[in-house]
Subunit: 244 residues, 2 copies
């Protein structure tokens, strides 16, 4: 069962999704410093238990924290269910990754996706790290706010998205047009390479290649950063067009 | 002496700053897999040495890599020197942090700063982690491309920047105006809170409070992400105004 160990992540998750929380565990002696967490747990009706140090560390091996929140298993959204949902969403903003191998990156991506209200994150089943404790913790509970879709064949899923009217942009540092010249206001899927780059087929399936302009001498943005910058630009365009 | 252990970081640094590199060390048996690195070292005249496994790990304790690049100590830019430099830069883009405690965040910030060509990163001396191996490695060698200025008193330095004509915006999730409504084209310093938030004095010293709009139910962007999104928006505004 996954668990969170970061105090802020725990508080945020208890506040936003008390229903997906199982139980809060606290190491004996750390009740006072965990006061804020305990208060929030009480407020939301989340049960908590204090354990003696040796029992705590026997139960939660390899953690460095003195508090631990057990949460439900992450439930992925079915790829077909997402397609069905798209009919009801006006101008969905989707993001797909050709692969994500670093839990730190996936956690950061899910945190930013929750912040920017991305409708779904699409990852390939065989080319992505799982939603581990590390991912959940780095996302600060963001995993509870974002639909995560795992697909067997990303290229084929991009085809299906295109058929339903979603325009697929691929972000590539060798692209010509800067992202702000692309129209990101309609139903859009932004496609990103993995930490190892983009596969040819994924790139070819997309409608248009765009880029985030960077310095020639140091062009390599981190994939989670590239994602956040792109999504933020889409949100800007959408907000600006609403106010005109 | 700091060192890099990530292959990509090593290649990038040898390419871009061969002068700041001391020597490349390779564990015996890993010469073939390090072929790309060795070629770049030879091309740039960087000396390298192969060590037997036991000697390699005696020399570089606690590393998980089989290659290691020794680099010069990071040299910070003097605060007064930056002020002096500003006279010669047209529309400098500076970024200051009220504190940065997580090496992962600082590394990410320096990598993005190098990508977007930020003129300097300003951090408080007593409220920031150092430029450790972790920071250098996560920055992918970005530390060599960005001026890093450590100041004793950030609030006072913001005052000085304002006196030299730099407009100081502070990013705060409680701000009203979205960042894209602010004019980021002139001499600008973007000021960010630490992972623990913004200190009152830092906030008060700035000319204007702006925000990156996020979802109400999940507003908390990571500081390195907030930084990248803000700087990217500044670069967009500057590029767009040049083409009009």
């Amino acid at each position: 069962m996954p668990y969170l160990t970061n105090k802020n992540s725990i508080i945020e998750l208890i506040k936003s999704h008390p229903g997906s929380v199982r139980r809060l565990w606290i190491e004996h002696g750390y009740e006072t410093v965990s006061d804020e967490v305990i208060k929030e747990a009480k407020r939301q009706g989340v049960s908590f238990k204090v354990l003696q140090k040796n029992i705590f560390f026997k139960k939660f091996t390899n953690i460095k924290s003195h508090i631990c929140l057990e949460v439900d298993e992450i439930s992925y959204t079915d790829p077909d269910e997402l397609l069905h949902d798209l009919e009801r969403i006006k101008n969905p903003l989707l993001c797909a990754f050709d692969g994500i191998f670093d839990p730190q990156n996936l956690g950061n991506i899910l945190r930013s996706a929750a912040c920017f209200g991305v409708n779904a994150i699409i990852i390939p089943k065989d080319r992505s790290c799982g939603i581990t404790q590390t991912v959940a913790s780095i996302s600060r509970g963001g995993i509870e706010h974002v639909k995560i879709v795992r697909v067997v064949n990303l290229a084929r899923y991009i085809d299906t998205l295109k058929e339903t009217g979603v325009f697929c942009y691929v972000l590539d540092e060798n692209g010509i047009a800067p992202i702000w010249k692309a129209d990101l206001r309609g139903p859009v899927c932004l496609v990103f390479g993995s930490e190892e780059g983009l596969r040819r087929l994924t790139k070819e399936k997309c409608d248009e290649i765009i880029k985030i302009p960077t310095e020639d001498v140091f062009p390599s943005l981190n994939v989670a950063t590239c994602f956040a910058v792109s999504v933020s630009e889409a949100k800007r365009q959408r907000a600006v067009s609403q106010t005109i």
